[in-house]
Amino acid sequence: MSSVTDVAPIPASRTTEGVPRPDRKPRGGLFLAILAWLVGLLFALPAVWMLLTSLHSEPDAASNPPKVFAPLTLEGYREFFGADPWPVLLNSLTAAVISTVVVLLLAIPAAYALSIRPVRKWTDVLFFFLSTKMLPVVAGLLPIYLFAQWSGLLDNIWFVGLLYTSMNLPIAVWMMRSFLAEVPVEILEAASMDGAGLIRTLRQVVAPIVMPGIAATSLICFIFSWNELLFARVLTGTRAETAPVFLTSFVTSQGLFLAQVCAASLVVSLPVLIAGIAAQDKLVQGLSLGAVK
């Protein structure tokens, strides 16, 4: 669970270029620090530009050369919220929450059966889960669409949420397993002798290990569900439309709409940005399926 901020201080001599100068601050240090800052800013620039453009009036946003210091306005946001995006955002939230909750309900018992009381050939089962994540979902899109059409589940946000569950479940099983594997079974065994001790152990020993795992799993499931476009586009219509599908209405826009596009993109990205930045370490664990700790 390492992060830049909570690892032990790294000796200044740990550079990757130049002659080693043990225990002395390398002279290239300042240059490399400035370079790191420039690279970071360059990568953030498109997002910063999105924010700035969203706060400009439409004529200022579409000016060439760019008017960086044009007066700020909430016009773009007013325009975006004027189109009543709330049902759409609510649909996205519903799908993401359904899939996250169901994923946890399915993944935690499964992870238990793959770590604390493992079934026979548990590694094979674990790799079966992972293999399903690696196959292209698009290859299963048509049968799922035909099933939804046949069963009347087209344009139903619950159905979409359940599909997202299947997409996220392999990741969740892997992550929860890697966390549950750290639970000290001996202590649990000793505690299970008397009930009061067990509850205390669960709270004081198991919860601190498992709760970060649940947080990391929820974060990843939420992000992937919130971002999904292809299935939502094919399976939803007017009622269950999700935020990414709503955004596609800007694909072929003409005329003065740049501030509104940027405002919409930012609002839709905001939940992911906030959650992801707040839980950076969890992000790494989740993206590497728990392989990177």
Binding site: V4, P9, A61, L106, R120, P143, L169, V206, L229
Partner: protein, 319 residues
């Protein structure tokens, strides 16, 4: 979690288990029970559709001509593999994946090395770096398409105008980036989003290096390049494989930027887009399914490699 907890014992018994008795068998089922809901759900929702895709791929089935439905043999496959669009899409899919994964991996490695040093504001720079990964893919593609690449008011041409004006020229070059480099524009957007992913995994890899060993090598007189070449790089290799292969698995399935930036035009349609188009717009279910099976087979090759890498990491972790 209050039932018998005996992981230690089970781990030992796993290698050579005594022959099952009826009691043993029911105990086995008790162990399997918590696993079954997840397993059944996964098989029904993710594996069953592939079986139907395989079946439909051998059928004549176009929603516009429902009366012509029937067995088609390998016709759909012949049509998919001889169709110029699909063959182009295969090439586009491979190009897109290879370019995006390699460039993101190299950039991610360089940036991870920069961020592995202690400097003022390192946490802030890391946060700035992961922002691109957290912008919703559709939103990222929209912003790159309209606010950055647009020939009239996009940021790139705006900066060109500004620079040319600085030097007193009123005639700056204003290329139409998306029309001139359609695939490049999509790759650029994807690289912007995936470099942070690679950087995060490689940075975690760098920070898990055994520092004492590196210190010892330094004291023994190894220079920085030797340490990187013979110690850091071999250690990072498995993380690079992990990042590259997981990235490849996601990028092979890329749909959003292709849909948003070019709508599959200008020779940028990849296999997921072609499948979407054949099924959703042309309603040719048989051919879409055959294309799906082709994509499936291609991905299985990559996925096998990825699984092997994860499996290596996994065995080391569980030693």
């Amino acid at each position: 979690m209050s039932v018998t907890l005996e992981r230690g014992q089970e781990g030992a018994a796993e290698a050579g288990r005594p022959p099952s008795t009826a009691v043993r068998r029911s105990a086995d089922w008790a162990r399997r029970a918590p696993l079954l809901p997840a397993l059944i759900f996964t098989i029904v929702v993710t594996q069953l559709p592939f079986v139907f895709t395989l079946i439909i791929s051998f059928m004549n089935w176009n929603a516009y001509y429902p009366q012509d439905r029937g067995f088609a043999g390998f016709d759909n496959y012949v049509r998919v593999l001889t169709d110029v669009n699909t063959r182009d899409a295969i090439v586009v899919t491979i190009t897109l994946t290879v370019v995006v994964v390699l460039v993101s991996l190299v950039l991610g490695l360089l940036i991870a090395l920069l961020l592995d040093r202690k400097f003022f504001g390192r946490g802030a720079v890391r946060t700035l770096m992961i922002v691109p990964f957290l912008v919703v893919p559709v939103a990222a593609a929209l912003v790159w398409k309209h606010a950055i690449f647009n020939p009239v008011y996009g940021l790139i041409n705006g900066i060109l105008t500004w620079i040319w004006q600085l030097f007193g020229s009123g005639d700056p070059p204003q290329p139409d980036w998306i029309s001139s480099f359609p695939l490049g524009a999509i790759e650029m957007t994807l690289i912007w989003q995936w470099t942070p992913f690679m950087m995060l995994i490689l940075l975690a890899g760098l920070q898990s290096r055994p520092l004492e060993v590196i210190e010892a090598a330094r004291i023994d007189g190894a220079n920085a390049w030797q340490i990187f070449r013979y110690m850091t790089f071999p250690h990072l290799r498995q993380y690079m494989e992990l990042g590259g292969l997981l990235g490849a698995v996601y990028i092979v399935q890329t749909f959003d930027p292709v849909f948003v930036i070019t709508s599959g035009g200008l020779g940028t349609a990849n296999l997921p887009y072609i499948i979407y188009q054949t099924f959703y717009l042309a309603h040719d279910y048989g051919r879409a399914s055959a294309a799906g099976v082709v994509t499936l087979i291609g991905t299985i090759v990559i996925a096998t490699l990825a699984l092997r890498t994860v499996s290596t990491l996994f065995q080391e972790e569980n030693k």
